[in-house]
Amino acid sequence: MSIKLMMDDKEISVDEDVTLLDAARENGIDIPTICFHEATTSNALCRICVVEVDGQRVLQPACIVKAGASMKVQTRSEKVVRARRTILEMLASTMDLSDAPEIQQMMVEYGASSNRFPDAQRRESEVRDDNPMYVRDYSKCLLCWRCVQVCAEDAQYTYAINFDGRGYETQIGTFFERTIPQTTCVLCGQCVGVCPTGALKPKREYLLEQGLSPQEISVLNMGRKRRSKVTGQKSE
């Protein structure tokens, strides 16, 4: 059954049970997303997709709120734009967005300043290079939850990673801080495939960025002992 609602002062008609985000996209209205992914369950974590709904006290995340008959929705009201700008500024103040061109683009679009909170403490983290397939750099992690979801019921049913810590200390981690090879991880890289900010990256892409040549990277296949010659890392 279809329902009618107002979005940005335009009457639209959508199927019952769709989200406000789907309703907008079906009707050519752009709502930005960061943590949303079509292949994972939506959890409204990043709040960048918030919209203003008449009669609701606070802004509503479009990725999970269902379209309702006769709803009046504003997707670009001043309140919405201010909220999105603030979210982007807070992200930029605490994490490394260098591998997230889409978010950088959003910052330009919303006039967000990366210096709005100069005293903010950045979430720094060492690059974790503990398995042959991918590296983890949680300085670039915005805690969108996608990696945890695809490792669990959204794809892999492997449950190797989860949220670790509380509040500001929250980080994606393994149980008992084990290295990836010591967990249940099957190295499928589904997590790498859905990471929006380059916090998870294929090992070979990472090494190429570090300035290694394709030939040097290929030699790494020859075994652990030879790795030291190329990267200068301690031989295991």
């Binding site: 398995n131 249940t184 991880c185 394709p214 296949n221």
Partner: protein
């Protein structure tokens, strides 16, 4: 951030699932693999091999120049040369002329029966079509086979006998439509990881009930409604007992049996002895569990069976598969969406290589070589005089090698296969390889088999060629080159054309046509005779593959087979007997050895042992049950010698309840501890598939220094 020069969409070169890959290329180097979330087979999900296991393409040991052995090899004294110093580099012309001269010399002297070829389930449809064409059209022999013989030959023969077709009846993605499904002889999570995800989804999100029938407590058991841990090689009594229960408890779908099958009366009489109690005695699975599984399967609205090597790799592999087929016939769980008989095909293109006629009994399209009317069609297509092609069925993979002797097979062409890892009883295989007079290897690495060759022709891996693969769903999908071949390597189809032209001119034959400029022309030539592929063009499969049969240019493909009838008309019940495995345990060799595969590795290891995958799983481990380990003084991680009547290997133990008491498991990927040194080369009489899944062995504690590579230690939490 690295910006790719381009992104190439292609198909994964590993298992038969056929996942879509996007290869991100910078400076002719793939640095990242992704998969689109709207991909039809895998919905964006990949396994470790698909996402990260492509790096063998760039491995320093890859051979990219034609090579000729420095020391002339003689029959009986042939040796392996792994080191490049034993070879000299040659120009393509020299290597191809040399191969053509020697092959033609042997053919002129000893005739068609001296010639044989192994096609390759890793190569494209086009490559395989051309290689069988070369041997059939030029050397007039049907000694053409490939590794399907070692994998689903039992299933193929059984399905041909009972149904008249030998592919999966339904697509794997239909598993979410199943109410009940049986997974047997398949460690799906490791061997078809993306299908396993869909099975898990079916259970977790769609309420399906999964019945796992397997000697090992595989990963899927965690989500199964029932696990029936049968003794290896006891499929026939177990599944026949399920049929017995279905008949006795009147759960038979009579409409289906009466309208779609034949041979029921004799079959039902033969079922009498297969009581659940009898099956319990033989298989070790409690009779009550057999009854419950039978009821679950028979009473379901939609039920399907998925099976793997545990059914077919037995000296009674054909009978095992027939026992499964009977369950579908009795209940009518075939011919509708969400049902079916589904042998999960192993290789990326084993379905396609079989479709292309890379088998001794069939031309492309499963057209029997012994029928003059089939021969006539291919003679016309290949410009051959009437009656020129051979009506004599050829030798199978295993027979080709066992016939390598004076008066038998004298020359062998191997494209991409590795019999020195994949054949059973490898010590015997070695003797046969030594007997060859001339051997050509066309591959990307000098593997255990290529090391025996006289001439090595460097081919290209999937990332450097165009063509098509046909996956386990019968989905024909486009394979695309991400960059130019490394060094002087050439795509297989080009090498075959260049060699065939040389052979043809030396034989003075009218040309069978080898002047293709693009692989699509090869596919179209084949599709002109093989009606399953008649409506498939590169243009039609540019974005999404087509599921054959595709009989016409506007046909949308056929995901579900047998909706109205079977290719042979009525489905045929067969009378089965329980035949034990050829070598049962005894006092001297008290354990049953069963072999299989690992998530991180692929078959003979030519690709994955030359990849970072090897770092994630660097050594073979023998799985042994804690109770058995204690009796034999074996600890987890301690070295163990495993011995059979045919050979012995040393590796570390994995003491685990994943395997049952009395059964040990070894993965067969590791050349330095090759499980196939131990396995039994007893063959199924019809399918000629060897009994990889059960032989008798003994275990002994060994010393650290006996290990072939003590430095390689598996450090993974999940194993």
């Amino acid at each position: 951030m690295i910006q790719p020069d381009h992104i190439t969409t292609t198909i994964c070169p590993y298992c038969g699932v056929g996942c879509t890959l996007q290869l991100h290329v910078k400076d002719d180097f793939i640095y990242k693999v992704t998969s689109p979330f709207d991909s039809p087979v895998n919905h964006g999900n990949l396994c470790v091999k698909g996402r990260f296991g492509y790096d063998y393409v760039y491995h320093p040991k890859r051979v990219t120049t034609p090579l000729i052995r420095k020391t002339k090899q003689e029959a009986g004294k042939r040796t392996q040369a792994f080191d490049l110093s034993e070879w000299r580099e040659a120009a393509w012309d020299e290597a191809l002329d040399y191969a053509a001269d020697r092959l033609v010399e042997i053919y002129k002297r000893d005739g068609s029966d001296a010639m044989a070829v192994y096609c390759c389930a890793k190569a494209t449809n086009e490559d395989n079509y051309l290689l069988q064409k070369m041997y059939r059209a030029l050397f007039r022999t049907n000694n053409v086979d490939h590794c399907t013989r070692l994998c689903h030959a039992g299933s193929v023969v059984a399905l041909q006998q009972a149904i008249g077709s030998s592919a999966m009846s339904n697509t794997a993605s239909q598993v979410i439509l199943n109410d009940v499904f049986i997974v047997t002889g398949s460690n799906t999570s490791e061997n078809h990881p993306i299908i396993a995800l869909q099975m898990k989804e079916a259970v977790q999100k769609h309420g399906a009930k999964m019945i796992v029938v397997d000697p090992r407590r595989i990963d899927l058991v965690d989500m199964a409604e029932m696990w029936l841990p049968l003794k290896p090689g006891t499929n026939v009594p177990l599944f026949s007992a399920m049929a017995h229960v279905i008949v006795k408890e009147e759960l038979v779908n009579w409409d289906f049996v009466n309208s779609r099958t034949e041979g029921f009366d004799e079959f039902i009489a033969s079922l009498e002895k297969f009581t659940p109690e009898y099956a319990e005695e033989i298989s070790g699975v409690p009779a009550d569990d057999i009854c419950r599984a039978a009821r679950l399967y028979a009473r379901a609205k939609n039920a399907a069976i998925y099976w793997g090597m545990g059914i077919s790799q037995l000296s009674h592999g054909t009978a095992s598969a027939l026992a499964l087929i009977h369950l579908a016939f009795l209940t009518g769980h075939i011919g509708r969406d969400g049902t079916g008989l589904n042998p999960l095909r192993g290789q990326n293109n084993v379905q396609g290589a079989s479709d292309m006629g890379a088998m001794p009994f069939h031309y492309p399209g499963y057209m029997g070589v012994d029928k003059p009317e089939n021969r006539a069609k291919w003679e016309k297509t290949w410009n051959i005089e009437e009656g020129g092609l051979s009506l004599k069925p050829g030798l199978t993979t295993t027979e080709i090698l066992s016939h390598a002797h004076e008066g038998g097979i004298r020359s062998l062409f191997i494209m991409g296969e590795n019999p020195m890892m994949s054949e059973p009883n490898l010590n015997e295989t070695r003797k046969h390889m030594e007997q060859l007079e001339f051997l050509v290897a066309q591959d990307i690495f000098i593997n255990e088999s290529g090391a025996f060759a006289d001439v090595f022709l460097p081919a290209t891996p999937f990332a450097e060629k165009d063509g098509t693969f046909s996956n386990t769903d019968r989905r024909v999908q486009r394979v695309r080159a991400a960059h130019n071949p490394r060094g002087d390597a050439r795509p297989d189809w080009r090498i075959i054309c260049d060699l065939a032209r040389r052979i043809e001119s030396r034989l003075g034959r009218a040309t069978a046509k080898w002047d293709y400029t693009h692989p699509e022309q090869i596919l179209r030539e084949m599709a002109g005779v093989n009606s399953d592929y008649a409506g498939i063009t590169y243009e039609r499969i540019d974005k999404v593959g087509l599921i054959y049969p595709v009989p016409t240019m506007d046909h949308p493909g056929t995901p579900t087979l047998f909706t109205e009838s079977f290719p042979r008309g009525r489905g045929k019940f067969h009378v089965l007997d329980y035949v034990p495995v050829r070598e049962e345990p005894d006092d001297e060799y008290p354990f049953i050895l069963t072999t299989g595969r690992l998530l991180e590795h692929w078959h003979g290891g030519t690709m994955t042992r030359n990849s970072a995958l090897n770092e994630s799983y660097p050594e073979a481990r023998v799985e042994i049950h804690p109770a058995d380990a204690e009796i034999h003084g074996i600890r987890n991680g301690s070295p163990v010698k495993v011995q059979s009547r045919r050979g012995e290997v040393v590796m570390r133990a994995a003491v685990t309840e994943k395997t049952s008491v009395g059964v040990i498991f070894i993965p067969w990927h590791f050349a330095e501890a090759a499980a196939n040194l131990l396995t039994n080369d007893a063959l199924d009489p019809q399918a000629k598939i060897p009994e990889f899944k059960a032989c008798a062995v003994q275990v002994f504690p060994a010393r650290e220094k006996d290990l072939p590579n003590p430095g390689a230690v598996l450090e993974r939490g999940r194993y």
